[in-house]
Subunit: 659 residues, 2 copies
């Protein structure tokens, strides 16, 4: 904290008038409680705009505007903005149709559900979402997760109706869970999925999804339902005689085409439309090819019949009775969190580019509502996928209206164009999925993690290997456990460092960081780098004793003055609990028995309050608490050198460097 | 951190030469890893005394001395010390015999096991334990826990042999678990049971144990096996016609006697022997009374036959096969942790009084070994109970020899005196348990928690109510969850505060704590009070934006200069992960778009290293990183006021106070 020389307080006059460390006045318990509650659940002060208005009508309007952000932009919507949104909307629709069909296959659901899911949810999001760039749709990872979690208990081929109903029920629960998180202001739970977790998890999921596509590319009819790499490889290489060269050829061709277009668009962002239009082009080309060559009779599997017409209602299909409700609930919660994390992260990233704010909790309510409404209208889990939103952003979307345009385009497809997909080969869908997934394997991100933070790299690899060799749930569990363990370890083993005087100043800094810093004879200055909690109180007591022992040994060896004062720099101690105050209490008594004085420097207001109410302040003595380390050491030194002010500087300078 | 005026650096010459914030040199990954490992698992450097010795023989001796602390005190043992230990040993034996029998009843085990358990384990502890005051024996809470956990699956009345074998097996597992914790240097796991948890948990367990004694006091023959208050009250009041007035009278009389002696000893610590001898006196008086009046025929239940002779071996009784092994394992681990927590806490408390050190990990190995050996010789779970150790301490024990004396006294009892306990009434044992338990309900401790820390109070009450209304496991689970949640919340919602200049100094302090601190126009100084981790990165980004918005609003309202510089005081940021560095990266870019400059003050070495490797240091610019807030603000101010050095002081003083 603060420091640097000068002013009336300068000159090392230690015993002179000094700024006391104030004890904050006691506040009523309910006040503190309310303030803490507000800081925990409403840190962004979301209702500021509502409260600021006067009159019930204006306030209602402000509240409506809060929950339905389209009320803010719709009145000022211009033709120019609409033109931009129209282009963006049509572009993402051309991506949404093949992707929707592909991901539905990934979830073992009827392909038409992918189209349904790109019709209703985007409309809901356009009303309630606060992102201008998010393009709503289904996502690969959540689709895969639904497939593997539900598929482990209900077979999608033997009992397709029940499987479909459970997927819709899981979507309903996911929506309820997402909206509740937002309404209960628990959005910060999503923050517990760290960036490192997401990099590893997404990479692992993308790897798993790509491996699953080997089924389509190789034209296999039977395939394992497991997602781990061992089962998949076993399944692939145990039936090499079933591989179809026609399928492999077609798949590789389209994959190459898609990767080339991706490469071009990445090199020249202005040509974004090339990669955006490539999937639909592939679908059309592939369908025409199959139609002309009758390849469906030569081992190329096709989508087949797709029902014409809009989403049928599905409220009555939801399963709210045992034994399958718990399965749907579990699937819903896990996939809901994953989908939410992706949607929020994508929304935030693009909001940052365009410099506007996304309210995480509001987004959760919007995404949750769109899934609840979706589950009533035959849609499965949707969120804001990164790939589609990036295309939307690059296509120049201005508002959520681009989602409406996409939704209408999908509606037209549903009403009139579904027969055209009859001959679309599955292998093209596999190629589309693989090309989308390869972008999710962020190996550069992993390298960056290794360079910056080894623990984060472990978290990332834990998630990746867990997903690839175990299952999606295992990978997630491993990563979250390592992340939380890391936080707990930080608190359980806080760093303590010895501070030294930076020559010719009154500043005290870490001796291992500032090599010029020097010790002051008779005074040991220690800095504690974490809140003092029950998890570290006894560690700190032991560690401080060891610092003192080591310093005593060192000084004895050199025949210097032993430790007389132990100055604890509390600047970085953000909080303290009763175990912490007891620790200080004990430390004071132990040091007293060894003939040493404990001195506290720069305790914060919360620390002062706790020290006061636990009577430790009284025990240590208010005169031994200083606002800065400099003043604390000066006072000690003043006493040590029989009332010769200004001695600190000289002795510190004379004292040999410990570097 | 450091601060206060003076030296060559004084005078506010902001653009002058300044101490740069060094980036620590990169260390090989393995070095850092090894250092972290050492700090995590060997913070107390336990083998220092061994490594310091030269020669294999001397080192072996030092290692032996490490594992068998009696080698240290035994050679210098004096007759005077023995006299003190003899008195203390006989005193605790007089307490151990009735307590041992009572607690064995509490665990639904044969009473004789209580005596066995006071014979072998104390001998093992005397060899390996490092505490001079701990008196070994069984404890009420662990006994109750064994009774309720094993009793829920195996009935002690219908299948007493299996029940006994499971209790011994659980003791074995508890010992193995305790010793492993010590050997693996995982002693800090015990620290996760905070002081508040233990106060609540002990209070709850004591309440439950007292309620269980209603069976003995009321002379009931049938009683619930549940421990929660609702079941117990139901059991008591559903059979009021079974209450025996003889039993109630006898029990109340002895309870009154015991409480009076406790009161006397508490008032006059020199008369400690009155309360120490009271239980044995009660047992003798009660037995004589029953023998003379033949009260055993009038509804007073007695202990009955106790087998003469020393502990029979029990290695072959241990159950290592399903289905009951898992039950024993679970019981062993939970009771082992509870017993360990009590033993370590008691050992540490008395060591503090006498000013010597207890090595937690070494204690765990000692306690674990004593339980493993105990389980081979018909002893059930032992540790260092508080009541017995306090008596030992008050009786003036000097070394662990008092445990040996107690052990020999119990041995003599086992060999010759067991028939004397035939007529001992159970109601007296109940009175002894109640009087011991009342001391464990630390209501003053709970009040202290309420005054100092409300969260700790919640943890305490959670543990208490969980134990009383649920079960021991539920209470423990609730308390540990709240404790961990609190730590996670501290990390998820770190405090940020605005700093102001303390007039006439270069010090910057929290404006809500130091009421005289003043803002500097155009510069917003924020302090972050926690490590920047994935759990709080997005919160901090939003919170910092809000601080800036609020400050902009305030200054606009007054027509003052808007925010030009945002100085982040990183002094209290102990650590940062990749989510944190990304946050700073984004913050820098966002502020740049708003025309503001981000400035970092006093980042620690770890932060500097991470900023450097993540290229954020480059992005922000090394010239915008200062060792103190004072220098950072001076530099900003210097630029703001067109190169007029020394302006900070004046403008700050002139600026109206924001208090």
């Amino acid at each position: 904290m603060g420091g640097g020389g000068a002013g009336a307080n300068g000159g090392g006059s230690a015993a002179g008038a000094r700024v006391p460390v104030p004890v904050p006045p006691a506040r009523p318990f309910l006040d503190t409680f309310r303030a803490n509650l507000k800081e925990t659940f409403f840190p962004d002060d979301p209702f500021r705009s509502v409260v600021r208005e006067r009159g019930a009508a204006r306030r209602t309007l402000a509240a409506l505007r809060y929950f339905f952000p389209f009320l803010e932009w719709a009145p000022a919507y211009t033709l120019g903005a609409f033109r931009a949104d129209l282009v963006a909307g049509i572009t993402i629709a051309s991506l949404a149709i093949p992707q929707g069909i592909s991901y539905a296959k990934l979830a073992n659901l009827p392909p038409i559900l992918g189209l349904y899911s790109s019709f209703v949810p985007p409309l809901v999001y356009a009303l309630m979402g606060s992102s201008r760039d998010l393009a709503v749709g289904t996502v690969a990872v959540a689709s895969l997760l639904i497939g593997s979690m539900l598929g482990s208990e209900v077979s999608p081929t033997e009992n397709p109706a029940l499987y479909l109903h459970l997927a819709l029920t899981a979507t309903f629960f996911a929506g309820v869970f997402q909206a509740s998180l937002g309404l209960l202001r628990l959005g910060f739970i999503v923050d517990f999925l760290s960036h490192a977790t997401i990099v590893g998890f997404m990479g692992g999921a993308a790897t798993v999804v790509c491996l699953q596509q080997l089924k389509g590319i190789l034209g296999l009819e039977h395939f394992t339902t497991s997602t781990d790499v061992v089962s998949v490889m076993d399944s692939v290489f145990s039936q090499t005689h079933q591989w179809r060269w026609e399928s492999v050829l077609l798949g590789s061709g389209f994959l190459f085409f898609l990767l080339v277009t991706r490469f071009i668009s990445k090199r020249r962002p202005k040509l974004f439309w090339i990669s955006a239009a490539a999937p639909l082009t592939s679908v059309i080309l592939g369908s025409v090819l199959v139609y002309l060559t009758h390849a469906e009779n030569h081992g190329i599997q096709v989508i087949g019949y797709l029902k014409k017409g809009l989403n049928p209602p599905s409220v009555t299909s939801l399963q709210f009775s045992p034994p399958y409700m718990m399965l749907a609930l579990k699937t819903g919660i896990i996939t809901g969190v994953i989908a939410l994390a992706e949607g929020i992260a994508v929304g935030r990233s693009f909001a940052m580019f365009k410099n506007y704010n996304i309210d995480g909790n509001k987004e959760m309510i919007a995404i949750g509502t769109m899934n609840i409404v979706g589950s009533f209208t035959s849609c499965y889990l949707t969120t804001g996928p990164f790939s589609r939103s990036a295309v939307n952003y690059n296509a120049g979307c201005k508002t959520a209206m681009s989602n409406v345009v996409m939704s209408l385009a999908v509606m037209l497809t549903l009403l009139f164009l579904t027969p055209l997909f009859h001959y679309t080969p599955l292998v093209v869908l596999s190629a589309i999925i693989i090309s989308a997934m390869l972008g999710l394997i962020d190996y550069q991100g992993a390298i960056h993690l290794w360079q910056v933070d080894k623990v984060d790299f472990c978290v990332c690899m834990g998630a990746y290997l867990g997903v690839v060799f175990g299952s999606v749930e295992i990978g997630l569990g491993v990563a979250v456990s390592i992340s939380i363990l890391r936080v707990m370890l930080f608190i359980a083993r806080p760093r303590t460092t010895m501070l030294g005087n930076v020559p010719n100043t009154m500043i005290y800094r870490r001796m291992d960081q500032y090599t010029t810093a020097q010790t002051v004879p008779g005074v040991l200055v220690l800095r504690i780098d974490a809140p003092i909690y029950f998890t570290n109180a006894s560690y700190l007591r032991e560690r401080i004793s060891r610092w003192i022992d080591e310093e005593e040994e060192r000084t004895q060896g050199k025949g210097e003055m032993g430790v007389q004062y132990v100055v604890l720099d509390m600047g970085a101690v953000g909080s303290i609990d009763t175990s912490g105050t007891s620790m200080l209490d004990e430390l004071k008594k132990t040091l007293e028995r060894r003939g040493m004085q404990i001195v506290l420097a720069n305790p914060g207001s919360e620390i002062m309050k706790k020290l006061d109410s636990s009577k430790v302040l009284e025990l240590i003595g208010h005169e031994w608490i200083f606002p800065t380390v400099g003043e604390a050491v000066s006072s000690c030194d003043y006493v040590l050198h029989s009332h010769k002010p200004g001695v600190v500087m000289d002795s510190a300078a004379a004292h040999e460097s410990m570097v």
